[in-house]
């Protein structure tokens, strides 16, 4: 580890979005030839900080000092010109172009007439690839390469443009173990040549394997920077948590009844494998994990949206066989999806039409809609859920996120389900509505429904659940109830990435 002066210094940078302080006077620095980890929970501000560095966001206050000079990073292109390169989680490449064309995108060598100098392009790309130890040539079409190799192409840009700061955002999210080794070798290779590297990850084993220093972010603030060799997982976890649970969470005070749903050995090879759990009447079951852990895919598979490749689903003790959304609804399941706009609501229409949408049979006779009964149901839920809308025909696009979310709930509740699955029920809605939704969840459970809540927000999942299952990389990695339900336990469960997880056979 080097002790030179930093190549990039972030000095008290603040960035606010309407209603949220995403970064609050954040300071940290990157030295040449070091790998610097940036860790924190979902929403701690890692992505925002990285986007400020890459020129995607502009900081409200504070300064960035690059190679001794204060700089203004206006765009991703600007960042690249200054030698700062961001490797996205979602690769930003063009699959139909060649490897060399991707590496030098936007800066291809041409002659006077605009004709590409392919031999120079390929030669330069080859040397960037050779420096990384890549085993593929510059002229192959990018789309034919594996994800790991495509990632190398993106990293090769760092060599090609002589980047001195490279930021990796969760780079191992879609890699296998061998591919991960390849990536780490590449990162060490960059480091040894004096590049300063920012490594954003949730996975503690990777962080302790790879990095020299660790900076912990929480709620937009830096909690501290430590040397990796002088720290341990416990200390980092402690720095990541330590927040008081908000008092307004309502945990259902219900008595648990009989088992409603049980799944055994559920598998969908792309997203998760060997998942078993059960949920009972009156119980709120939390499903916690990082984005991409396979939680949404799991419940979508149970609901029959995705293919169940192996396993068995039991509904009130009876095996159901493979479900379709229609069958699942008929049994008494309801799935409230994560993205209200894409999957849950027709925003151009009013509340009345949205509530009745999935239940044509309940509200119609011989395909003619019974508007009066739709109105009755609308009024019931408007009162019960305290929805703020001017009337049954007001387009939902005019309502706040919280009120939209209540319509999503109303639409599923009016079918009188026995199990309701809520995927990120409070994402993107204001704090007041959040608390109303939490209250509602508790009320549902107290009325004897089984509830499954998927959430990436730890306080939420801790606040509303009776029991919490943790998922990481497609596996169930822990189950906590009662006093075991602590932030520390959840973080440790999802950050440990066991060696055998999702290894291709």
């Amino acid at each position: 580890m080097s002790n030179q002066t930093p190549i990039l210094t972030v000095n008290e940078v603040t960035k606010t979005f309407p209603g949220v302080v995403a970064l609050n006077e954040v300071s940290f620095d990157i030295r040449p030839g070091e790998v610097h980890a940036l860790v924190g929970e979902n929403g701690a501000g890692k992505s925002t900080l990285m986007k400020v560095l890459a020129g995607l966001y502009k900081a409200d206050a504070g300064e960035i000092i690059h190679q001794g000079k204060p700089v203004d990073i206006a765009s991703p292109l600007d960042a690249r010109h200054q030698g700062i390169l961001l490797i996205h989680q979602e690769l930003s490449l063009s699959p139909e172009l060649s490897v060399a064309e991707n590496i030098f995108l936007g800066a291809w060598p041409t002659n006077r007439f605009g004709v590409l100098r392919k031999s120079k392009l390929n030669k330069d790309a080859q040397s960037a690839l050779t420096a990384l130890g890549a085993d593929f040539g510059p002229s192959v079409r990018l789309g034919t390469l594996s994800i790991a190799k495509q990632q190398m192409v993106e990293i090769a840009r760092a060599n090609a443009f002589e980047a001195n700061v490279v930021i990796f955002d969760e780079p191992t999210a879609s890699l296998t173990d061998t591919e991960k080794d390849l990536l780490f070798a590449t990162i060490r290779n960059l480091r040894d040549r004096g590049v300063g590297i920012v490594y954003i990850s949730h996975k503690m084993d990777e962080i302790f394997d790879l990095t020299d220093r660790i900076t912990v972010l929480r709620d937009g603030q830096v909690q501290g920077t430590v040397k990796t060799e002088e720290s341990d997982v416990g200390q980092i976890t402690q720095m990541m948590i330590g927040r008081e649970l908000d008092a307004f969470f309502h945990r259902a005070k219900s008595t648990l009844g009989s088992e409603v749903l049980r799944v055994e050995g559920l598998m969908n090879t792309r997203h998760f494998r060997d998942v078993s759990f059960s949920v009972r009447q009156g119980e709120v079951l939390g499903l916690y994990g990082l984005v991409g852990a396979g939680r949404s895919e799991l419940v979508e598979t149970i609901f029959g949206v995705r293919t169940m490749e192996a396993g068995e689903i039991y509904w009130q003790g009876q095996p159901t066989g493979r479900l379709t959304p229609r069958k699942a609804t008929d049994l008494g399941m309801a799935l409230v999806p994560e993205s209200r706009k894409e999957q849950g609501l027709v925003l151009g229409q009013g509340g009345r039409a949205n509530i009745s949408l999935p239940h044509p049979n309940m509200f119609s006779r011989a395909t003619v809609m019974n508007v009066a009964s739709e109105m009755r149901v609308f009024d019931t839920y408007k009162k019960q859920l305290d929805i703020k809308t001017t009337g049954p025909e007001q387009a939902l696009s005019d309502l706040s996120g919280g009120n939209q979310q209540k319509f999503v709930l109303a639409k599923w509740l009016c079918a009188d389900p026995k199990l309701i699955i809520l995927d990120e029920p409070t994402r993107g809605i204001d704090i007041g509505s959040k608390s109303a939704i939490h209250e509602l969840i508790a009320g549902l459970a107290e009325n004897g429904l089984a509830v499954i809540v998927i959430s990436s927000e730890m306080p939420e999942v801790l606040g509303v659940s009776h029991r919490i299952l943790t998922m990481s990389e497609g596996r169930m990695v822990g189950q906590f109830s009662g006093v075991e339900m602590t932030e520390k336990n959840l973080i440790e469960a999802v950050s440990h990435c066991a060696d055998d997880v999702l290894t291709p056979v």
Binding site: S75, P76, L77, R80, S92, L93, S94, P95, E96, L97, E101, L105, G106, A107, W108, T110, F113, G114, V115, L116, K118, T144, S146, T176, T269, R270, P504, V505
Partner: protein, 324 residues
């Protein structure tokens, strides 16, 4: 488990992959084989020469359309631009002479294409809407210029240019092939061509890399308009008249030919080779069905069915070759 087999098949099935990405030649071969068996007149030099010439008009339009479509855009106004350039090339001959009139026709196409490009690039509207407006507006312009009736060429030596043949290949067909090959070279070997792919493939990556997206789109729309004018000039030479309704719904046949060839409507993927394949398949189908005395409406039904079938196949194949 799945990943390993995926990687293996990727290496061993190079030829299969090529065919998946170039299935149009399979269709063309099949069409030629069927019509050769069904009609003794099909595989004659005379008829092939006819097929090439008939296909070339849509083909020249398709050359420009391919560029625009690889950019992820579309141009519905090519038929109308073709009609306007035909009208100008014939109507202006009396006042300014033959070649200046031809030049005026070409320039009108280039200018209208440029106009389409500028509006699309700067307004942020989808080109479907922009060029749909252009299609209607330009057709109106043609009617204003010609009146209800067709314009006639005064000096009939003008029509003799269309009769120039290189062996069995007419000047129209030759123009098509030369333009297609030239722009294939542009697509594969120039910065503009490759950046056109980059834009259609991943516009955000292209933007982040500092590629001037607007400029490339304007250039491609301008080329597309110019190609429509070239086809219009050749049509005026062949017919000797300029009908106000010339080229009506040709934009649809053009899009069909390009898409049939395998160029994607979503952009980022395609080539002039595919377009040649698509244009020729369409021309062979039309010609073959006529040789068999198929009624016009049956011809339309067959062509529509073939298009949907080809696109269905494209979808199935591409969903199989993309990673699961």
């Amino acid at each position: 488990m799945t990943m390993n087999t995926g990687a293996q098949s990727r290496h061993t099935n190079g030829a299969v992959t090529w065919l998946f990405r170039n299935h149009i030649w399979l269709f063309l071969g099949l069409a030629i084989a069927i019509f050769s068996l069904a009609s003794p007149y099909f595989l004659t030099v005379n008829n092939i020469s006819n097929v090439l010439t008939q296909g070339a008009f849509i083909g020249i339009l398709a050359v420009g359309m391919t560029l625009v479509m690889i950019d992820g855009e579309i141009d519905l106004s090519v038929g109308a631009i073709l009609a306007l350039s035909t009208a100008l090339a014939i109507g202006l001959q009396e006042q300014i002479g033959v070649w200046p009139a031809v030049l005026a026709g070409l320039l009108s196409g280039a200018a209208l294409g440029f106009f389409n490009g500028v509006i699309t690039a700067f307004s942020g509207m989808h080109s479907f809407i922009v060029t749909l407006g252009a299609l209607i507006g330009i057709r109106g312009l043609v009617f204003i210029y010609t009146g209800e009736d067709a314009l006639m060429v005064q000096d009939f030596s003008y029509t003799e240019y269309a009769e120039i043949y290189l062996g069995p290949v007419s000047v129209t067909a030759l123009t098509f092939f030369v333009l297609a090959l030239f722009f294939q070279w542009v697509l594969t070997s120039t910065r503009h061509g490759r950046e056109t792919f980059a834009i259609g493939d991943n516009i955000e990556a292209a933007h982040d890399a500092g590629i001037n997206i607007k400029r490339h789109k304007i250039i491609n729309f301008s080329i597309c308009g110019t190609m429509a004018a070239v086809a219009g000039i050749l049509l005026s030479m062949r017919l000797g008249t300029a009908e106000p309704n010339a080229g009506k719904i040709w934009e649809l046949w053009t899009i069909i030919a390009v898409v049939l060839g395998g160029t994607r409507l979503t952009g980022g993927f395609g080539s002039m080779w595919k377009t040649i394949g698509g244009v020729m398949t369409l021309a062979v189908l039309r010609n073959g069905l006529r040789l068999l005395n198929t009624p016009n409406y049956v011809e339309l039904m067959v062509m529509g069915a073939v298009l949907i079938l080809a696109l269905l196949l494209d979808r199935v194949l591409s969903s199989q070759t993309e990673a699961r």
